[in-house]
Symmetry: C7
Subunit: 80 residues, 7 copies
């Protein structure tokens, strides 16, 4: 997992479509779901997303578009 | 619904005109209505919009223009 | 009123000159008046504008220039 | 005063040199004086300016340069 | 002093090298000194600068570089 | 270690892949791990990352993408 | 020291490599060390840096990269 790649962060994101992620926004809210699409501003479409406050599910979204400028991090989960 | 598409988030938004959405802004206020138009900054015109504070309707707008830089997310609702 | 148009938000604004609007800024203050001119940053000139705090008039302005980056929304009122 | 013009906000500002204005900044402080020059970012030079806190004069400035990104509004006063 | 010039704010700043100014930043701290150089972002080098909190000197700087995006205003002092 | 180099900060970052770093974000949270990739906005992919609050580990991430605009600093550790 | 130069602020910074500086960030934390490299955003690499809170050393960094958009000022010290 720690083998070096020289791919840029946004290229890696583009190749992470359909992967499960947790996205944390500046307001500390997190969204857990799959990345359906992403662009260079980190605007994201997530599907089957759960909104998490302090780790607890407070809402579900079939499809949600997150504006990239609010993103703090995107955690790639379930990596094999 | 979770079939992979490679469309970018803004293209998906452009194809969501007339769909019902909930838009949450940075000040935590939400607007529920239909997308009448949208541009690459996520500037939005919504029609028949309701302003929601903590899920309660506090105002109604025949037509409202939201400045994109305030958007946290856009939730597509009533998807079949 | 909810007939679909594919016009972009800023084009719609450009065609709303002389219409009555309420503009809400990030500091929650609202300005009610007519749009005299607008540009792509949503910089606005309003005429015969009233400044509203919690819906109460606290000031009047013959002509006022609002800097666009403070805008949260522009509500088009008195639409027929 | 409310006759429609199609001039853009910044053009109007450029034609307001030497007029008396009140400029309100994001920190709620206001400056009352004459516009000596202005550019497209709303950077302004004001002359004979008074700094107002809650409408009270707290300082005077022979010439002051305001950085445009702090501007909320510019009110044109003494219009005939 | 109030004779009209049509020079843009940044040009005026460029011609104010070696003049005494007070620069107020967004954090309300002020710096009093001479402008040694300035660019279009209002990045400034000041020499013989004093840092002022509520008008009291709390620090001295032989040469200090201020990042322009923090600037609220630049007051030109000692103008003849 | 303090020998002068004229390399720009982002070039140095690009050459720090696979090195251990601590990244501090504006919300004061720190991430300790290896840089897997980085771009000119300081968007970063870190691997084997630990999230630190006041120096205590509160979370672990196999792979995490940090959005560059939140970064305060990147500390290069374990330099020989 | 106060002789006029017409060099722009960023050019002066570029010529200050290896000089001792104090950098103050928007969160009021200061870093004292040598500039190893700098770019036009004021992204900085500092070496042998100390982190100062209210003037007290709270941390030491062999090499640290500061993101320029957080910078308030850079004080050049030990000038002869």
């Amino acid at each position: 997992m720690s083998q070096t790649t020289t791919k840029r962060p946004l290229s890696v994101l583009q190749k992470s479509l359909n992967k499960s992620v947790i996205v944390r926004l500046k307001n500390e809210v997190e969204y857990k779901g799959k990345i359906d699409s992403v662009d260079s501003y980190m605007n994201l479409i997530m599907t089957d997303a759960e909104e998490l406050h302090d780790g607890k599910i407070v809402g579900k979204y079939g499809r949600i578009i997150l504006r990239g400028n609010n993103v703090i991090f995107i955690k790639l989960i379930n990596e094999i």
